[in-house]
């Protein structure tokens, strides 16, 4: 039986479907990422990798709130160098890999971009939007100048498609996206988490060891959709939607608002890795029932009046 194809082309990358895991979610090893791919993801995204191994913040690093979770993992990662072999292992099985990374200096961004490119990643995702580490640790996009420099440096250091992942914690997300676009980014991932906090009234203490963390999950979705909407109206490069996708309907919402692909993080907690298959089946059914011929047909469709 011939089924409608979910294949998408994303900044030159051919993917069997438009779903990926969100950076930092089950991306600690090639084994974990391979499992996500086998469960149906169109591509897999590594944990954000840095120059040095990092243990991240002490526990508690996650707390549950209504509508989502707040995490302050603090970018634990085994280092990009260590992860090279993991990427090679994934590439040996032809799994499309997006390498997420962060750094504290332009030199490190350049260095990491080149070793991840050499390792065989299919695309790079610059994480300059993690709310969980101080400014010294990772350049913030809110700072226009750093964003410009970082994008340019990575662009020059690698021939791969470069995605820039943005934070929603800004007054105007379009500004940062435009800077990235002008400096050679091939796509924008929108969004990272919202800066948030949870406090316990019995112990009268913030729950996270780092006090402040990032809110993800359903609570983030309406904000993420708004960001994707605004970006689609203002930039030309493709958008990867991220934030609270928990059901196939959410994925379709992101596509209609202008995302060319979507990432799933927090929802894997409740729905398991099987979620990729469910989301893809849901998108397929939606396209078929509404007479569309492919994912591309509905990208940004809600903008037409």
């Amino acid at each position: 039986m011939s089924q409608l194809s979910l294949a998408v082309e994303l900044a030159g990358l051919g993917l069997r479907n438009p779903t990926m895991n969100a950076a930092g979610v089950l991306g600690m090893s090639s084994y974990q990422l391979k499992r996500l791919y086998e469960s149906g993801a169109g591509a897999v995204v590594t944990k954000s990798l840095g120059r040095q191994p990092r243990n991240g913040h002490p526990n508690p690093t996650i707390v549950f709130v209504e509508g989502g979770v707040i995490n302050s993992m603090g970018l634990p990662n085994p280092s990009a160098e260590y992860f090279r072999d993991e990427i090679k292992r994934l590439k040996a099985e032809n799994i499309p890999v997006v390498a997420s990374f962060f750094a504290a200096s332009i030199e490190d961004f350049t260095y990491l971009a080149s070793i991840l490119t050499d390792a065989g990643a299919d695309a790079l995702e610059i994480n300059c939007s993690c709310p969980n580490v101080g400014r010294e640790k990772c350049m913030l996009e809110a700072d226009r100048e750093s964003l410009e420099k970082v994008t340019k440096a990575v662009r020059e250091a690698s021939s791969l498609p470069v995605f820039v992942k943005l934070t929603p914690n800004v007054a105007n997300i379009v500004e940062g996206a435009k800077i990235a676009e002008e400096n050679g980014a091939d796509g924008i991932t929108a969004v990272n988490t919202l800066k948030a906090l949870a406090v316990d009234i019995d112990l009268r203490k913030p729950i996270l060891s780092n006090i402040i963390g990032g809110l993800s999950g359903p609570a983030l979705k309406p904000v993420a959709l708004r960001c994707v909407w605004e970006l689609f109206e203002n930039i030309e490069i493709p958008i990867i939607g991220c934030g609270g996708v928990s059901y196939w309907r959410d994925a379709v919402e992101f596509l209609l608002c202008g995302a060319s692909a979507i990432q799933i993080g927090t929802a894997l907690m409740d729905h398991g890795v099987e979620l990729f298959k469910e989301v893809n089946e849901g998108i397929r059914r939606y396209l078929e029932e509404n007479g569309f011929r492919g994912v591309k047909d509905i990208v940004g469709l809600a903008h037409e009046t």
């Binding site: 930092g24 979610v25 089950l26 991306g27 600690m28 090893s29 084994y31 974990q32 391979k34 499992r35 944990k47 191994p53 990092r54 243990n55 991240g56 002490p58 526990n59 508690p60 690093t61 996650i62 707390v63 549950f64 709130v65 979770v69 995490n71 993992m73 634990p76 990662n77 085994p78 280092s79 260590y82 316990d200 019995d202 112990l203 203490k205 729950i207 060891s209 993080g265 927090t266 894997l268 907690m269 398991g272």
Partner: protein, 268 residues
């Protein structure tokens, strides 16, 4: 409320089990309906949040954890006084599945208390398990009295022979299997013990469920820090059966993820 949300509970009772091992009792609805083998995350404000198996489940709504002091967080937990408060979330993970009619439970060190709720549940289900209670020496044996009270067939095994069988629990297990024709094995304890037991079981073709430990951060299957092969100890485990154990034999007993995600050697 979801079980993933933090609750703060009062420690109702503290029982010293050994020189450096204490059981803390508390009341919590989610914990008292946990499955044997599940664990909770215990928050010690300003210090850490760490995984702990439940060592009592559902006895008049009271739950407990049994903690060996091995570092800062466990030391502070062991010093907790009655009336003090700790944070908990969970229970998490899969827990044990009742299988076989002649099961044997093999516990070593602080793995023993995690098997206690399992033994109770088996008895309630009309199954009479054998139980090998292992430790370095007689002083380190945990839950001996409590287990003796409920079990007909408790075998004590100490490395130094200071009580019961002299040698490793896995050797003791070898004999027991022959003797009793056991048809399933449940184990929790030091990783090398688990490896020996699993090998023993594989040789004799007996199905195993083993509770493993890795570095747990989120406890809900998101962050990947507790990875062992393609699995997450916090979500796919902590209990793994023979099929899964076979799939991770290249790591089990050899390598584990450190908090940065790098594989480092497991203590021998």
């Amino acid at each position: 409320m979801r079980r993933e949300v933090h609750r703060v509970v009062k420690v109702e009772e503290v029982k010293q089990e050994a020189k450096d091992v204490f059981t803390l009792y508390f009341k919590d609805n989610f914990c008292s309906s946990a499955s044997p083998g599940q664990f909770i995350m215990v928050w010690i404000p300003g210090v850490d949040e760490i995984p702990m198996s439940l060592s009592t489940i559902n006895q008049k709504g009271v739950s407990s954890i049994t903690v060996r002091s091995v570092g800062e967080a466990t030391r502070i937990l062991c010093e907790t006084k009655v009336g003090e408060k700790i944070g908990v979330r969970g229970p998490f993970g899969n827990g044990f599945t009742l299988k076989g009619s002649k099961p044997v439970l093999v516990g070593g060190g602080t793995g023993v208390p995690a098997l206690y709720p399992l033994a109770s549940k088996m008895l309630i289900s009309g199954i009479k398990p054998s139980f090998i209670l292992g430790a370095r020496n007689a002083e380190q044996l945990l839950f001996k009295d409590r287990l003796q009270e409920i079990l007909d067939d408790l075998i004590i095994s100490t490395d130094d022979g200071s009580l019961g069988f002299k040698g490793y629990a896995s050797e003791c297990l070898g004999r027991l299997i022959l003797e009793k024709k056991c048809d399933s094995i449940y184990t929790c304890g030091p990783e090398q013990m688990i490896v020996s037991i699993f090998k023993e079981a594989e040789r004799r073709n007996i199905f195993v469920q083993a509770s493993l430990e890795r570095y747990v951060k989120c406890a809900v299957g998101l962050c990947g820090s507790c990875g062992i092969g393609p699995f997450r100890v916090c979500k796919d485990g902590p209990v793994f059966d023979s099929i899964s154990l076979r799939a991770v034999m290249n790591e089990l007993g050899f390598k584990k993820m450190d908090p940065s995600g790098r594989l480092i050697p497991v203590e021998k």
